[in-house]
Symmetry: C2
Subunit: 184 residues, 2 copies
DNA sequence: TCAAATATGTTTTGACTCGATACTATTAGA
DNA sequence: TCTAATAGTATCGAGTCAAAACATATTTGA
């Protein structure tokens, strides 16, 4: 009863948030800004836009636009207009941004705490939480945000890997990233 | 890599937060206020104070004081001065408060999502997350907030159950609640 | 073809969160 | 006794957030 799964997740999230807040102080970064930055470092070229971050964080685009503006002002990300569609702006994490993430994300003490789990236990936890997350996303009608590699549209051909949705070629690095168009 | 445990937890927490925000709209309640209310409905008489909520949520007491003021103004909690120590104010969840929690906490769609797990899987996930949470709390030097029943100070005597810390008698309901003084 | 609808993103506004700081009241302890 | 510690409140400024209005760019479809 007192150990409801949702309670555990909220408590872990609260602690993570707290540690994140501390680690962001050196650069004056808020937790939500760090979450956006982290997301941008893990997503592919179809998913590095304001709207994708909006969907990922579950906020409104106006709110996210503000946070991204701050990240840009601190030179942690840079904005690049899309060549084909001029409405779209791609958000690239700068070297400084990656540097910051490497030091702080995931938070050190959390990483330490995980070492109490065995390899198998950690894998098991991830697997089960992924299942819950996937179901929850579906129930709330939210975008799945899965890894390119495991997407329905990802196709291996004799010429290499292809995205069936965009018809573009994908590198071996590409397919490790998170995509907002992900479909099971 | 893309499925880091901390990433999964943050994403689940973001979705929970979003659903919580929606469910709080009817009463004009913010997510953090609902978290405080929920905590107060699960804690024992040693842990129903402003400072305990502060520790639990990992915020500062000024911030929490404001949130509690709003909960009181909406008649979801009531404040009762401690008889012995006049500095202390106990926070009781009112009937209206419990009514609200029963409807919204945990969020319906999250509960639905969990049903994708078997009983064993859910238990396993809880067990492992509890382990991580416990370690994380210890690493960050935070209060443990465990269930009274499993605390070191909980002692069963011929006269009933006793708290060795406060030397007070505990009922069978008491020992199911969360205590800030919890020690493994 | 070209106007209407749609999509991406920014700005503004007002309510709220949050940490920091200063403050009051009460209790503990040397 | 009288100083330090503890519980809690009040205020401030920076930032989050949703909502709405807005500016561009693209797509749709008559």
């Amino acid at each position: 009863m007192n150990d409801e799964l949702f309670n555990l997740i909220e408590r872990l999230a609260n602690l993570l948030r707290q540690e994140t807040r501390l680690e962001g102080q050196s650069l004056g970064l808020q937790p939500i800004q760090q979450e956006a930055l982290y997301y941008l470092s893990t997503c592919n070229r179809y998913s590095d836009t304001t709207l994708a971050v909006t969907e990922f964080l579950g906020l409104t685009k106006g709110t996210v636009s503000q946070s991204l503006k701050i990240l840009e002002s601190k030179a942690l990300i840079s904005k690049v207009k899309d060549k084909k569609d001029k409405r779209i702006t791609h958000l690239n994490v700068t070297e400084a941004g990656r540097e910051f993430l490497k030091k702080t994300c995931p938070p050190q003490k959390f990483t330490d705490a995980i070492t109490s789990l065995s390899i198998d236990e950690e894998f098991e936890t991830k697997t089960l939480l992924k299942k819950v997350l996937s179901n929850y996303q579906q129930a709330t009608g939210r975008t799945a945000f899965g890894v390119c590699q495991h997407c329905k549209f990802n196709r291996k051909t004799s010429d290499g890997i292809l995205c069936d949705l965009t018809k573009e070629a994908l590198s071996s690095d590409d397919i490790m990233l998170i995509c907002r168009e992900y479909v099971v």
